[in-house]
């Protein structure tokens, strides 16, 4: 069976409301390394991620997976958003819902949902209503929901931006566990420390353009572009 990766972005651009948000992004995202989308707020990371995931259509260029996403077929990719969105039902039911939407048979759903909940450490809260859980717990639930789908690629859009340090650590640990189970991780962040900790390769975005694409060590040790250097030094303005 062919894998969905590599994902090929060819001259991808995106404009909205008269403004150009992304321009001429060309890159290849392959299986294996943990990919980090790095950049300041407003650099276009979220938009690019949504384009890769298929939530937005690019205004220019192409997004090419190795095998096209066929309607009705089990999704090969999942996404975790900055703010988790849960349905008004129990934590367990939220995971089962995703499995049902993915076409998993009823008999299998309960078991898989329970195991995913277990893996993120939410077994005690499985029967609780998902929307009354704390921010950190909901984000872990979102990860359980994505993981239960056993996706080939997991996109994460600034998943810990709204969490306190301890919740952040828990979430990062789960992401690592998911990677070890075989899922490709593509994560965006503006946090340098997190990028260094969790990334194997960095795609650095600056004002809608791909300024640099290199392995993490090389990126932080000797950034090729002046914008990257300024960003690492913390001199780059936020907008």
């Amino acid at each position: 069976m062919k894998t969905a990766l590599p994902l090929r972005l060819e001259q991808v651009g995106f404009a909205a409301g008269g403004r150009i948000i992304l321009e001429k992004i060309s890159a290849q995202i392959g299986p294996g390394p943990r990919t980090i989308l790095l950049g300041a707020n407003g650099a276009g990371k979220s938009v690019l991620m949504r384009i890769c995931h298929g939530l937005l259509a690019p205004s220019a260029g192409t997004v090419q997976w190795n095998v096209p996403d066929i309607a009705g077929a089990p999704r090969r990719q999942a996404m975790v958003f900055q703010r988790p969105v849960m349905l008004r039902r129990s934590a367990l039911d939220n995971v089962s819902y995703a499995l049902k939407a993915a076409g998993v048979a009823r008999k299998e759903r309960a078991g898989r949902a329970r195991r995913a909940i277990e893996q993120v450490g939410l077994t005690q809260l499985a029967a609780h209503s998902a929307r009354v859980l704390s921010g950190g717990e909901q984000q872990r639930l979102a990860l359980a929901r994505a993981w239960a789908l056993r996706p080939e690629v997991l996109f994460l859009d600034e998943p810990t931006a709204n969490l306190d340090p301890s919740a952040t650590r828990e979430v990062e640990a789960i992401i690592e566990a998911i990677r070890q189970a075989g899922t490709k991780i593509v994560m965006s962040t503006h946090n340098l420390g997190q990028a260094r900790r969790l990334g194997d390769e960095v795609l650095f975005l600056h004002q809608g353009r791909l300024a640099e694409h290199s392995p993490t060590d090389r990126f932080f040790a000797s950034p090729a572009s002046p914008e990257a250097a300024a960003f690492i030094k913390g001199e780059l303005p936020w907008a």
Binding site: R50, H53, L55, R75, A78, M79, F81, V85, L87, R88, R89, Y97, A98, A101, A102, S129, A130, R131, V132
Partner: protein, 231 residues
Amino acid sequence: MHEALRGAFALVLAGDAKLLEIVALSLEVSLSAVALACVLALPLGAALAVTRFPGRQSLIVLLNAFMGLPPVVVGLAVYLLLSRAGPLGPLGLLFTPGAMVIAQTLLIVPIIAALVRQAVEDAWIEYQEQLRSLGVNGVAAALTLLWDIRTSLLTAVLAGFGRAAAEVGAVIMVGGNIDGVTRVMTTTIALETSKGDLPLALSLGILLVLLVLLLNTAAFVVREAAQRRYG
């Protein structure tokens, strides 16, 4: 006023068979209309909220405008439709509770649909990305949203019930206000007023208001409990 209030309680306590019959029919007609209206309005409202097509905005404006449809006009239209001399005459529905249900349903579908559309659209804004990420679109998404906002839907349904239960113009025309057959609380109030028996009319009116208040209180309690449980 006191006499009317005492009259209202006396009526209820007496358990007058005639009164019970009128109240029972009122509830049956209005609840049936609400049920039928939901079957039509929930999908309509949800579909309008999650789909995009040319002319959608005009349809929404039209729907909102229909909320203000004059009941007597609807009554006349249904009367002409159901009369033996009209297209649906063979159904023999004129001057029966069925005709009243139809008239009330037509009146409240726009209200429920418009409120549902607003509620589902607000929810769609919140849930859209996550649902699409999971591959949930179209009908499946609409159903998920409808279930998720079920307690807000209760508000819409109650608004519809309130309008249906308050209705008198259309139901008098299509029901004929026949004693023991199509006489409901509102039409009885109209009848007693026209006979000059105002205390009785007032007592019935108070009873009707109390009934509606009771339903709204129950719904409020349900909503609060759900809010606490599900967040």
